[in-house]
Symmetry: C2
Subunit: 310 residues, 2 copies
């Protein structure tokens, strides 16, 4: 089969492309290398350097035909979205529109979209969210992702595109960017812990905040498995573990598995950041039955890998 993977030089996109190539498929990757790395790109993929929100990049796809488009690219930092909201909407929303228009033009009927748990926002005391719950986007990032989900529904209703929107919770694991300190809660703390140039760990927000962390290999298996799984067609699906881990539990695990101790300093949180959220995964459980990595083993694998490649 022929697949397009956008963001294929990034943490999640590159692992998805690797898996598809490993399964014997042809993969074209688009990436603007703004946060991804050339070295992440599978050498058996066809690589197009460019931005998915740029019509000139999309027009380079005219010579290809895809069985599915996996739109994983995107500006994925809530923090960055506040620095340049217009870039954010281009990166996360206009890109989706252009790829959907391309899909219609070329007759590609399958579209997988990397959405986010951020669309739920803070809603009173609610901590666990299912796909049927109200959304309340509190960052530009979340607004753009939610608008993209709405576009998918319109393209499904009118043009028959079978979408799956994956509301990724916090993805972590080997391969995560340890240089970019604006995205990835675990990677940000791990970087500060293992890099001797940091004498402390800076945490923006309370230690009681918690997240639902899902291991990268699980995300790759779920995402690639859905491509031909009809039960996932035209569904929005939470991709999490249904378990919560607080910032302090996470810091303890990181210290344990790296064997490194550093002081932790707490500062004010990022605007629009969510206090605590975890996934209701009943829908995911009906579609994907393999066991998910436990946070303790996942963090151990990540620490081991990070220390090896430091």
């Amino acid at each position: 089969m022929n697949y397009l993977v956008t963001g294929g030089a990034g943490f999640v996109g590159s692992k998805i492309a690797d898996k598809l190539i490993c399964q014997g498929h042809q993969v074209v990757i688009i990436d603007n290398l703004s946060t991804g790395y050339l070295s992440n790109i599978n050498t058996n993929a066809t690589f197009i350097k460019g931005d998915c929100s740029d019509i000139n990049t999309i027009s380079k796809l005219n010579e290809f035909a895809f069985d599915a488009i996996l739109h994983i690219a995107g500006q994925s930092s809530g923090e960055v979205s506040f620095e340049d909201p217009v870039y954010d909407i281009n990166s996360n929303t206009v890109s989706t529109l252009l790829l959907l228009q391309y899909a219609v033009k070329k007759g590609c009927k399958r579209f997988i979209y990397a959405s986010t748990m951020s669309v739920y926002g803070q809603q009173g005391d609610q901590l666990c969210f299912s796909e049927k719950d109200l959304t309340n986007p509190l960052s530009f990032y979340a607004v753009g992702k939610l608008a993209s989900e709405a576009y998918l529904k319109i393209y499904s209703a009118i043009y028959g595109i079978n979408y799956t929107a994956l509301r990724y919770f916090n993805i972590y694991g080997p391969g995560q960017n340890l240089v970019n300190l604006k995205q990835g809660m675990i990677s940000i703390y791990l970087k500060q812990l293992i890099d001797p140039s940091f004498d402390k760990i800076t945490v923006k927000g309370s230690s009681d905040r918690f997240r639902d962390f899902i291991y990268i290999d699980d995300v790759v298996s779920i995402t690639t498995g859905f491509i031909n799984q009809q039960a996932s067609f035209n569904e929005i699906i939470n991709i999490g573990t249904g378990k919560k881990t607080t910032v302090s539990e996470l810091l303890a695990l990181l210290k344990q598995h790296t064997g490194i101790e550093k002081p932790v300093e707490y500062y004010a949180g990022t605007p629009g950041d969510q206090f605590g959220i975890y996934a209701d995964i009943h829908k995911l459980n009906n579609l994907y039955t393999a066991p998910l990595e436990h946070i303790e083993r996942g963090v151990r694998l990540f620490c081991k890998n990070a220390l090896g490649v430091k």
Copy 2:
């Protein structure tokens, strides 16, 4: 006071600008004249021709300081939004971001936004919607407006901008564009009825569809009245009458008040068009107590005006 009115050459924006100028205020108008007319622009306003989604247009505002921004401009046709979704998101969403950024930079704390009842979409058998109801945007137009509302909430929470988002239902009345056959249900039918070059009225969708039509003068009074009404700050408010009128009732009224009879032909509806919707106006009633124009008198006034200026 000093006000910025975007879309001030359009149907609603020009009437709002007229009223503010009539009250003795200074008004700057931005309009790209894509659907508005130079002749609509109040000669006592300062006019900047340009697009609110263009940073060069916004930078022309640097020499001004406003007490409030009324962002009325926008691509307002659901039909056009399907022809060019990227133009739509620029027109309706990026423009809002740029104006909010400008407001923060210049310390303008008041922002009134023209949103739409289209954000509710079709939701099962529900016909009447309040501001607390779920949204389900079915057109690109509605997605962009809903994203803008979310941006307003973020700018309110973080930068202290006092927004009011007005979910306009179907606005009609003298001054409505009778040339553009892609927006305005009443104006589209009225044009076809009174223009001899049309031998029939074309209706896209069923005659049982209904809308909540609100007269232009009421919309102008409500919108300008909210500028300094603190109870409307940081609220999303339905702007409708709470009454429904079907397409066939409307056609009967138009025929009655123009004295013209023409055959009506029905075709398939526009994608994303809503079958029937009317406003729960409890919130509006608490903020605006003047009586609203009844549809029969409003249509009569519109027909009279249209026949006079045909």
